[in-house]
């Protein structure tokens, strides 16, 4: 049972890390919101709509960061057969999909006043949309395979294939976009960002990352529990010669 020795240490570490992650997330998000919504000045061109940046940009960063994290965890899980790495990758996926969707939705809401349209087949939007589909496929593959060990390895292969393909997809979409430059798009001048906008943005980014760590640990904890439940069930199934050997429990009924 050496595989359960590791989760025990994980549980201890995560119990110690969780309060810190929550504290950092709460403080950074709180002060970032105050800074972004109240203290930062409105942009002289974009007015107050520029404040969308404070949720849009961190979401977009997280969308990419979480996929990289997922792929790294998948590689560790695949090469070293590390169950915790598999669980981390699985737990990260819905968060990454959530951030990606948030980036797309807020981008669309920002695009409407700036570009006069809800959606532009702009290179960046398009590749983030493809990234969102990659997340969906990954999650769906996990759900389709019953055996967690097999699902983990299949999903890990998919995540690695995706991460190899992402630069190619990004390149191809950039290439495509230079061929079909949308006519009505007003290019946003990005890099000259004033420091009064930069610090709330960085605070929000830190807050998003700490939030990710906290919820990831929570999800990993839950997944470990489900695996233990599954293991208990399987041993029970062997002894009673049936996998449905005992009655449904109240907590289980609630989850159905």
């Amino acid at each position: 049972m050496h595989r359960f020795a590791n989760p025990a240490r994980f549980a201890r570490l995560s119990a110690r890390a969780l309060p810190w992650a929550w504290a950092v997330a709460g403080l950074a998000l709180g002060s970032g919101l105050v800074g972004g919504l109240l203290l930062a000045p409105a942009d002289y061109q974009q007015g107050d709509s520029v404040r969308i940046m404070f949720v849009h940009v961190p979401s977009a960063w997280m969308a990419m960061f979480v996929y990289a994290f997922m792929a790294a965890a998948s590689a560790v899980g695949l090469i070293w057969r590390h169950a915790l790495a598999d669980i981390a990758a699985k737990a990260a996926a819905p968060l990454g999909a959530g951030f990606t969707f948030a980036a797309l939705a807020t981008g669309s809401l920002w695009g409407q006043p700036m570009w006069g349209t809800w959606w532009v087949w702009d290179a960046r939007l398009t590749s983030v949309l493809v990234l969102f589909f990659l997340y969906l496929g990954y999650i769906a593959l996990w759900q389709a395979i019953e055996d967690p060990g097999k699902a983990a390895r299949a999903a890990a292969i998919l995540a690695l294939v995706g991460v190899v393909n992402l630069p190619i997809i990004k390149f191809s979409v950039d290439w495509w976009n230079t061929l079909h430059q949308p006519a009505s798009v007003l290019r946003l001048a990005g890099p000259t960002i004033h420091s009064s906008m930069l610090w709330p943005l960085l605070l929000m980014a830190v807050g998003f990352k700490a939030y990710f760590v906290a919820v990831l640990l929570l999800r990993m904890h839950a997944e470990l529990n489900w695996r233990r439940i599954r293991a208990l069930r399987l041993t029970a199934g062997e002894s009673t010669d049936s996998s449905h050997g005992f009655a449904t429990l109240p907590a289980e009924r609630a989850s159905l």
Partner: protein, 221 residues
């Protein structure tokens, strides 16, 4: 090498014997493309403008449709396991099976493509490039699709899942393939696009069988 040829020959023979599947996929290709004039109107200018994209997308979907045949049948009747046990390494088997799949599905699609381009009012000078772009692109489609087919091989109702997994990965070949056709139509050179398509096919050839074999090994456990 002999193992590769043996699997290739076996799969081609099987494909010819149960020829209807491949023919159905080709029929799908033609019918789907024929729906576009009905959908967007028969005006030649509009059709010529979208013809490259339509042929490419329909070809891509046809490949996608055919993918579930790639490993499923052999997995169900156990011959995949036997091949893996007795024959060459799984990597070679995958390569042979994908090659056979391309020969029986991809190549006919390539040959049909100019005909569809003609029906869709694509200018004559663009037809060779359309064919060439399909010729360079369909191997990528088959190789990348093989990964998805292997990942979903043991799954009931895996077809929809397969398309969800594979379609995002089909973006680059689609873009370069259509760009090549459009470059000819607008009078620019198609060369860079075609070179990128070829580069992509080579990269897929180097990497995809490896991932496919890893995924198949899971299904064989």
């Amino acid at each position: 090498m002999t193992g590769f040829l043996a699997v290739l020959r076996r799969d081609l023979l099987l494909a010819r014997r149960h020829g209807s599947g491949g023919a159905l996929v080709l029929a799908f290709f033609v019918i789907a493309a024929a729906l576009f004039p009905l959908g967007v109107g028969p005006e030649p200018g509009v059709l010529a403008r979208i013809a490259g994209g339509v042929v490419w997308i329909c070809g891509l979907l046809a490949v996608l449709l055919s993918l579930d045949r790639l490993f499923q049948a052999d997995h169900e009747d156990g011959s995949l396991e036997q091949l893996a046990l007795a024959g060459p390494s799984l990597w070679v088997i995958v390569l042979a099976k994908v090659a056979a799949h391309w020969l029986s599905i991809g190549l006919p699609l390539v040959l049909l493509a100019p005909l569809l381009g003609l029906l869709l009012q694509l200018p004559l000078e663009a037809l060779p490039v359309l064919t060439l772009s399909m010729l360079l692109g369909t191997p990528s489609l088959c190789l990348i699709g093989g990964i998805g087919a292997a990942l979903t091989v043991g799954i009931r109702r895996g077809g929809v899942l397969l398309s969800l997994l594979v379609l995002p990965l089909y973006v680059p070949p689609l873009i370069f393939g259509v760009a090549a056709v459009e470059a000819v139509v607008t009078g620019l050179g198609a060369r860079p696009h075609l070179l990128l398509l070829a580069a992509q096919a080579l990269a897929a050839l180097a990497l995809a069988p490896w991932a496919t074999a890893a995924a198949l090994r899971l299904a064989l456990e």
